[in-house]
């Protein structure tokens, strides 16, 4: 009996998570109480709650975890973090898993991945995020036609923002580039180095 139960546990993936996923080592503290699952505002939309994801990591279910839509449904509300009795930064583990999954070629959630990439691209290219440019980048990431269609679906809101002075006209025109911070060159060097030195990369 005991042998059968332990044979279900495969620590290979858990080791990979500890080593390569930001905050991944924190899951050892999880005692499976489920407070995170009960606190999450989107838990009912998930197949696997954070608690289940942690169990699946311990069980070595690599593909199922990294391919799960649920590791990327986090709104970053910090409710799980402030409530976890074992002080597991659940949200950070989810962010870490999603980042790692994307770099491993999984796409847990396509739309959020596209938007998130555009958002980060704005930061890397200019040092700040011009919201309208980030939106355009996101809409156009599927090509001009699909982007135009998506943009048109939101045109009432965009127009409303524009006429109320909450979006600048030059931000709306794709060919006018967003302003950069002065020392963008050194910021990029820093970010390149941080990507290299931090976690999240491929297992070696």
């Amino acid at each position: 009996m005991a042998e059968k139960a332990s044979s279900k546990y495969d620590p290979t993936f858990a080791r990979e998570v500890f080593k390569h996923v930001d905050a991944g080592e924190e899951i050892v503290k999880c005692m499976q109480c489920g407070v995170c699952a009960a606190s999450c505002p989107l838990a009912e939309k998930m197949e696997f709650s954070p608690r289940k994801i942690f169990t699946m990591i311990r069980a070595g279910e690599r593909e199922k975890v990294l391919g799960s839509k649920d590791i990327m449904l986090c709104t970053s509300c910090y409710t799980c973090i402030v409530r976890c009795p074992r002080k597991v930064p659940v949200m950070e583990v989810m962010h870490g898993l999603a980042h790692y999954a994307l770099r491993q070629g999984f796409v847990p959630r396509r739309e959020s991945a596209k938007f998130g990439r555009e958002f980060w691209k704005c930061i890397y290219n200019t040092g700040r995020v011009n919201e309208a440019k980030a939106m355009q980048g996101y809409y156009l990431s599927d090509g001009l036609v699909a982007g135009a269609k998506k943009g048109l679906e939101m045109k009432d809101i965009a127009l409303n923002m524009l006429t109320h002075g909450r979006m600048k006209f030059k931000s709306l025109v794709p060919i006018i580039p967003a302003a950069k911070i002065k020392d963008i060159a050194s910021l990029r060097k820093m970010l390149d180095k941080a990507r290299e030195m931090g976690k999240g990369g491929s297992p070696s």
Binding site: Y78, I81, S112, F119, V129, I157, H164, R166, K182
Partner: protein, 291 residues
Amino acid sequence: MKYFLYSGCSLEESASNYLKSVEAVGKALGLEFAEIEDWNCCGASISYVGANKLSQEVLNARNLALAEAQGGYDIVAPCSSCYIVMNQVNHELKENEEQREKVNQILAEGNLKFKGTTRVRHVLDVLFYDVGVEKIKAAVKKPLKGIQVGGYVGCQTVRPYGEYDSVERPVIMDRIIEALGARAVDFTHKVRCCGSGIFLTELDFGFELVGEILRTATDKGAEVMTTACPLCQLNLEAYQSRINQKLGTNYHIPVTFITQLMAVAFGMDPNKDAALNQNLIPVDKVLKVAA
């Protein structure tokens, strides 16, 4: 008192009415704001998609190091996302020497160094603890009498440390609303998430989250919503007609920033100072007070 006002990216455009009203109210209450020269984006919460944790730490450590070098005043963030991200990095780097050294090794690319000598604070914290309810009350010239305000604090505004208010049942926004002469409506979803940065990419879920916030607030009689976060404000205000279509509701409730209400109550210009003309849903009840 002098502070750095870290306006952040949203206040540059989509929440420019927040920035205008923060500056106006700050001036009226004797707060002096300086800008951190050459600040960069905090990365918000969604940056985990494109960046690892170290990159997000470096991004914020750069701002903190710039602020330290430029005078070291407390950094005030009106945006809850800026506040939570920057405050957390500041705490973690102060406490973790190994991580601090790693980050400083990277910041050296720009001849910067994080020392850990400043504080990051939310604008609500500064208004309540540095200015105080008594001083706010004393500045009120046109009380918002009879207006029922739903103070939607939002989730990130008071988290993760609860340094100035409860992470589950915050009260200071309501105390400020009351100081302005309005009635603070108590409702269950004061700190329930609005969907934040994934609202846009998971619209249907976002509609449900905001729908519940508006339902619980209006059920208790809220006529005007108020927030202290640009993304909360946008998500609650801009999509109301879509939410109505989707959920079969009939919301048309104005959503303000707390500093807009303050500017009106202080008798300041409703457009130039409170920037109410930039709200998508007219704030008629409040404008009547201003008239």
